[in-house]
């Protein structure tokens, strides 16, 4: 013990340890208190039915996670009684288009002979041949939010990265006054998202909005008018467009720095070899920007998963048909809006898990790319 102490805490290293704790201690302690401890506390809370209003909490084991993660696909039994004329309050009916629809909110699954799924709700129905199938989940809204999140990430990350690169290439030309344009394209980044979201609420107005008006003028009446935030199809794209518009300037600057790091003689050498502009881009610019692109994709992915501000400002109730609900929005709504801290903590922990898995996968892909080279 004494030698261990001597080795690690005596002499120069020991002095360094004390100084490290003294100078770095504040940051480490604050990080521990306000980042690591909330995660641990969150795991703890997620196994209770804790409420924020101070009601007594009980341990509920893994039931929160069970509720969040339970999802299944089942074949629905054949229609008990066809009701062709009018739609019943509950049960099967044929819509005017001849589509078979099951009203499920009014009647539980147990009533159609699926008692073991009594806790589930039907999230989506589809038919293969004549059989009716249903995706059922104990908490369909969570899955909806999860899918919305992935929808947002899968569109925004590639589009924003590509646009940022294009803008950076445009700005990187040796043109007079290019810095003016750089400032112009960057200015939305310096504006707070909440403010931008409020302004875009006006622009997306279905009746008077500037965006519909512009689309109409530019396309000669071919496009629009869209209902944007009022339609379940267009609400998420509307938020995507605005988010890309706001964030692309940031990535543009990072790409610009990457472009300026590429040595000029590489272009000259490839010019001597007879490369045209496209070949220069394809075989010099892109490979040289590899690390920058990886950085941009990684950071944009994490940022995109955190989507909350604009959703909460533009569609506080999750949008038409919950089409803009996201995981963070859902966790905050349950935990803060409805005071169900235990359940919201479980949603948050699942969210952290998903973000972790995505970043690990991304890193793995990058590493295998490195190995292949």
């Amino acid at each position: 013990m004494h030698t261990f102490y001597q080795q690690h805490f005596g002499g120069q290293r020991g002095r360094d340890f004390l100084i490290a704790m003294f100078m770095g201690g504040p940051a480490f302690l604050l990080l521990g208190l306000f980042m690591i401890w909330p995660v641990i506390r969150g795991i703890d809370l997620s196994r209770t039915n804790q409420r924020f209003d101070g009601a007594q909490a009980a341990n509920v084991g893994w039931s929160n996670y069970d509720k969040i993660l339970s999802v299944n696909v089942i074949r629905l039994p054949d229609i008990p009684d066809p009701l062709p004329e009018e739609a019943p309050a509950a049960g099967w009916y044929r819509s005017n288009d001849g589509e078979l629809i099951f009203r499920w909110r009014a009647r539980g699954l147990e009533e159609i002979g699926l008692g073991q799924y009594a806790d589930y709700e039907i999230a989506r129905q589809f038919s293969i041949r004549d059989n009716q199938y249903a995706v059922i989940a104990k908490d369909p809204l969570f899955w909806k939010a999860l899918l919305n999140n992935f929808y947002f990430v899968l569109i925004v990350v590639p589009v924003q990265t590509a646009l940022a690169l294009l803008l950076a290439l445009l700005i990187n030309q040796k043109l007079p006054y290019r810095n003016v344009f750089r400032t112009l394209y960057f200015s939305p980044v310096a504006t707070a998202m909440v403010i931008i979201a409020v302004v875009w609420l006006f622009l997306y107005n279905p009746q008077y909005g500037l965006i519909n008006q512009m689309l109409d003028t530019l396309s000669g009446g071919q496009l629009g008018p869209y209902k944007w935030l009022q339609s379940s199809k267009m609400a998420m794209p509307a938020i995507m467009i605005m988010s890309i518009w706001q964030g692309v300037g940031f990535q543009m600057i990072i790409f610009l720095a990457g472009l300026q790091d590429i040595p000029e003689d590489l272009y000259e050498a490839s010019g001597i070899d007879g490369a045209n502009a496209w070949q220069k881009f394809r075989f010099v610019t892109l490979p040289m920007l590899r690390n920058t692109t990886i950085f941009v994709v990684l950071t944009t992915t994490i940022l995109a998963f955190r989507l909350f501000d604009q959703v909460n400002v533009m569609t506080p109730d999750g949008g038409p048909n919950e089409s803009t609900a996201t995981m963070v929005w859902y966790a905050i709504r349950r935990g803060w809006g409805q005071s169900e801290v235990g359940y919201a903590s479980a949603v948050s922990i699942v969210f952290v898990g998903i973000v972790l898995i995505i970043s690990l996968i991304q890193r793995g892909v990058i590493r295998s790319g490195d190995a292949a080279e």
Partner: protein, 374 residues
Amino acid sequence: MTTGTLSQQQRSEAERRATLARIRKIARRTLVYGFMLALGFLFLFPIIFMIVAAFKPNDRVIADLSSIRAFFPNPSILTTANIKDVFERVPFGRLAFNSVFTTFVTVIAGLFVNSMAAYVLSRLRWIGRGLVLGIIVSLIIIPLEAIAVPLMMEVNEMNTALNLIITALMAILTGLLWAALWNASGTWVEDAGGGSLPAPAAWGLQALFTAIVALPLEILTVMMIRQTIDGGTWLNTYHVQILPFIAEPFSIFLFYQFFVGIPKDFDEAAYVDGAGPFRIYWQIMVPLSRPVFATVAILKFLQFWAAYLWPLMATRSSDFRPLMVGMDFFQTQAPIRWGSIMGYAAMVTIPVLIIFLLFQKWFVQSVSSSGVKG
């Protein structure tokens, strides 16, 4: 230049070609500039629209929305009624103060705390260093949004022991900053012409200077002392918006990267001269690292100025709410006046846009150096 071998015809042919090339170049440039300008309009039009609408009468905001009048208002109808309405309906001054205060204190305290942590991680060899560094790097991907709910629970039930620890921490930090500032301000006071003063007056000046520069940490310490004495929830205070965000893994990482790149010769020379680690940090690392300090300051400023989720959850009244959350008032409280919403939005945005335009070079530089190489 004599080109005797060229005939008149060849020469005119060459001239014609040169003119064509020039025309082509001009045409290309016009096209590129036209395209860039169109893009510029695309990026700017919502902001222009907001500023114009802020000064229009309430009923014209929606009426003009779909016409060119959204950007070029009739000058005779411009009014400041919206701005007046904003001041009447919300304590705008208080909200603005809250925003500026919390952002300022978070950024300043964060610079100090995070850079010191990065210093001990990059320069000293101590047991557990690798582990701590690994933990900090992996914490970068944990977003605030994911821990907001448990964090709210935590700050709601802070006990006296934790309050005391944090108070002590803030006091230590304040002491450290005092020592450093007192040390540094000696030469500054002298440089500023204080050298001719009698000793007590110079000390007074030094103490005043130290106290003013260390103000953010002093205020935090006082707040924490009051919190410890009064007890109770942290919700709806200033420090609940500041303390959880002072230490930040990404800032530490940026500092760490920069410090690792500074040659060790500098601090070794100082070490031979008998300087201790804190002195090396304060007198060598900090002055050498101004760019990374600017980077972290600007990135954190953008982040905390726009902070919305946590203030929304952690504050209840406009006594402590920042500007971003204050916006909700206009969207939810009748009568909903579109003009006032735009007025408020413009009042929040214009100061930051001006700061951005003045320091745009720094903004751009800080963003580009946040893009880690490799």
